[in-house]
Each structure stands twice: as C-alpha cells, then as structure tokens.
C-alpha cells in the first residue's frame, strides 16, 4: 500500500522528488484558490449582509460629512449676524456656502471610498453595490 507523500517525508526526514512535486502542486492549488477568493465580488465574500453593512456605513459617513458642513456654515453665519447686526444676510450666505462645502465633502469622501474599493477589490462602488441590488427588497 503506498504511503501518502507527506507522511513518508515526515518519517524519513528526507524529501523525495515525488514529494516535492506534490508540495508544489498543493501550493499552486492554494495560490489558485487565493486568487479566486480575491477576484470574487464583494457580495460573495462578505455575503449580502456584509455588502449592506458597508453600503450603510458609506451612506452614514456621507450624511455626517454633508450635514456637518451645513451646520457649521449656519453657526458661523448666525454669529456673524449677531455680532454685526446684519441679520439675516450672513446666515443666508453662509448656509449656502455650507451647502456647497457639504457637497464638496461628500465628493471628497466618495473619491476616497472609490479608491479604497478599487484597492481592496479591483471593482468600484458603483459596480459592487448596484441599485438593482435593492430592487428585490
């Protein structure tokens, strides 16, 4: 009865060419499986819940970025008016500025997320989390 390659090698402390070939095959197989897992779309790897969770955290981040700029703009405007007595002009102006800054923040974080996504999966946010994923809900 033939002894399995790795057992024989372990017993004698020597590695025969046949064993080496077997090891090489196994490591190639492992490489292939790792590549396969890397290439798989996010949804397959993290599961549906993982993708939803990620989408939610992205959304949450963007909302925080957007709202905070508007609030800061509003606060600056309010105090400028309070100090200068020009109500409501600075409030209006800075709210608009805050809005623009909020959109800019969101664009910035979107670009960063996109870069993270590409680095991690080779895909982008638009592809890995299509709108159609939510159609069946």
């Amino acid at each position: 009865m033939p002894v399995p390659a790795d057992e024989k090698g372990a017993r004698t402390g020597r590695i025969s060419p046949a064993d080496r070939e077997a090891f090489r095959k196994r490591s190639l197989e492992l490489d292939r499986r790792i590549d396969e897992a890397r290439g798989a779309p996010v949804e397959e790897r993290g599961g549906r819940a993982g993708a939803d969770r990620r989408a939610m955290s992205y959304g949450f981040r963007m909302v925080a970025d957007f709202i905070s700029a508007i609030i800061v703009g509003g606060v600056i405007g309010y105090f400028a008016d309070y100090v200068l007595g020009t109500s409501p002009w600075f409030l209006v102006g800075f709210l608009v500025l805050g809005f623009v800054a909020g959109v800019r923040n969101v664009m910035g974080s979107y670009n960063r997320m996109q870069a993270d996504m590409r680095a991690a999966t080779g895909g982008d946010i638009g592809r890995d989390m299509p709108d159609s994923a939510y159609d069946d809900d």
């Binding site: 709202i67 700029a69 800061v72 500025l97 909020g102 923040n105």
Partner: protein, 256 residues
C-alpha cells in the same frame, strides 16, 4: 425606572444617563466623578494594563497576548504611514492612544449594564477637538503661514479664489463635527437598537398568551445585532483613527 413592569417597554435611553459617583466642584464648574468618568478610567487602565502585561516577556517568539499587542501596534503604524507618510509617525502615539482608548471604550460598553462613554457627544467632540487643534497648531508651527495654502487650491481662476477659500474654510471647520458625530451616532444608534429589540422580547413574553411564542424572533435579532455591534465597535475606532491620520496629513503636507 430601573425595572420595567412585565409587558412594558424598557426605556432605551436610560442606559445613557449620567450618574454622579462623587460630587466635585471646581470654581463653580461641576467636575463630579460620574459613571462616564469611571468607564473612561477603566478603559485607560485596560489599555495600559493590557500593553504592559502583554509585553512583559518581550519574547522573540511572542505569546498570544504579546502578538496581539504587536498586531495592534503594526496595524496603527501601517495606517499612519500610509495615510500621513513616514513623517506622520511622530503622531503615532496620539493616533494609537486614541484608537486604543476608543476601542476599549466601545468594547467595554458591550458588557451588559456597563456605561458606554463613546455614546456621549461631549466625549467624542473633546477627542475630535484634540485632533483638530493639533492639526492647526502643528500645521502653523511646521509650515508657518504656508499652512493657509490648504485653503487655496491650486489651479483655480483668480476670480473664484475668495469663494473657493470660503468654502474650503467652512469645509475645514466642519471636520471636528463630522469626525465626532460619526463615532457618537454609530454607538448611540447601535445601543438603542439593541435595547429596543431586547425590549420586544420582554413585551411579547409579558403580553401573555400566544404572543409569547413570537418572543424568540426578536431574541434572534438581538443576538445578531450584538454581533454587529462588536463589528461597529471596532470599525468606528478604526474610522476615527483613520480620519485622524488624514487630517494630520494636511498639517504635514498642506499643499494639495
């Protein structure tokens, strides 16, 4: 207040109440030692204790605890190097402390009956302000007035410069807010959700009759959300540290 009647919804907000353990007043300011302070002291002790204890052996082949400590070091060190460059490593102690402190606080909050200090906006704002003021202070110290280039992106037509600068300034000032709200809101929302779903179990059981048969459903949900909360606890500490690195990067390299 502490014990809900059977079939009644337990108050999901009660867990965030501040209770004074020791009364203090410094120059008319309330500086009492509260359950929040206690949770922070415990977190700091856990982090310090964990790192000191785990590195006792200083073995070449690390024990499990030691490799956990080394992993957390390398995790943050890589993050700092990637986001802020090799120069950023002078801020490693700050980022590492923030990360470990928040992580310990979030995880500590996962114990039943334990107060979660990161669910209070005042704490997260204080942490975000440390970062914000460090960025401003160090930015001016290192770059002098050149730090203001951060607010004037290159390649903008001269006519638009005042407008773009104003937008950049508002955007910059909004950072500590979004930085702190993100951590606070995630933890707060998570803990409230957990409490609400756990409350459903009590309500269904308390209502009596056949509704009690439905009680296992929110029970399953509570178990799932608990697992999710552990993920959130880690993720939010990570996000906070990551943003810290990105903001510090601006102080180190202000020109876009």
């Amino acid at each position: 207040m502490a014990t809900a009647e059977p079939g009644e919804m337990p108050d999901p907000i009660e867990q965030f109440e501040i209770k004074k353990h020791l009364d203090f007043e410094i120059f008319g300011l309330d500086a009492s030692f509260t359950n929040s302070s206690l949770a922070m002291v415990i977190s700091a002790l856990i982090v310090a204790g964990f790192l000191i204890f785990s590195m006792q052996g200083r073995a070449l082949v690390p024990t499990r605890l030691q490799s956990l400590a080394e992993m957390s070091y390398e995790f943050i060190a890589n993050m700092v190097r990637e986001a802020a460059g090799a120069e950023g490593m002078k801020f490693f102690p700050l980022v590492f402390t923030l990360f470990m402190f928040i992580l310990a606080g979030n995880l500590l909050g996962m114990f039943p009956k334990q107060f979660t200090f990161t669910s209070h906006l005042i704490i997260t704002v204080a942490l975000a302000m440390i970062v914000f003021l460090t960025v401003i202070g160090y930015g001016f110290k290192k770059n002098g007035p050149g730090f203001l280039k951060l607010f004037v992106p290159s390649g903008v037509p001269v006519v638009l410069v005042p407008l773009v600068t104003a937008i950049e300034v508002v955007s910059f000032l909004s950072r500590p807010l979004s930085h702190s709200v993100r951590l606070f809101a995630n933890i707060l929302a998570g803990h409230i959700t957990l409490k609400v779903f756990a409350g459903f179990i009590v309500m269904l059981l308390g209502a009596g009759g056949a509704t009690a048969l439905l009680a296992p459903l929110p029970m399953l949900m509570t178990v799932a959300i608990t697992a999710l909360e552990f993920l959130v606890a880690f993720m939010q500490a990570y996000v906070f540290a990551m943003l810290t690195c990105m903001y510090l990067n601006d102080a180190l390299h202000p020109s876009h």
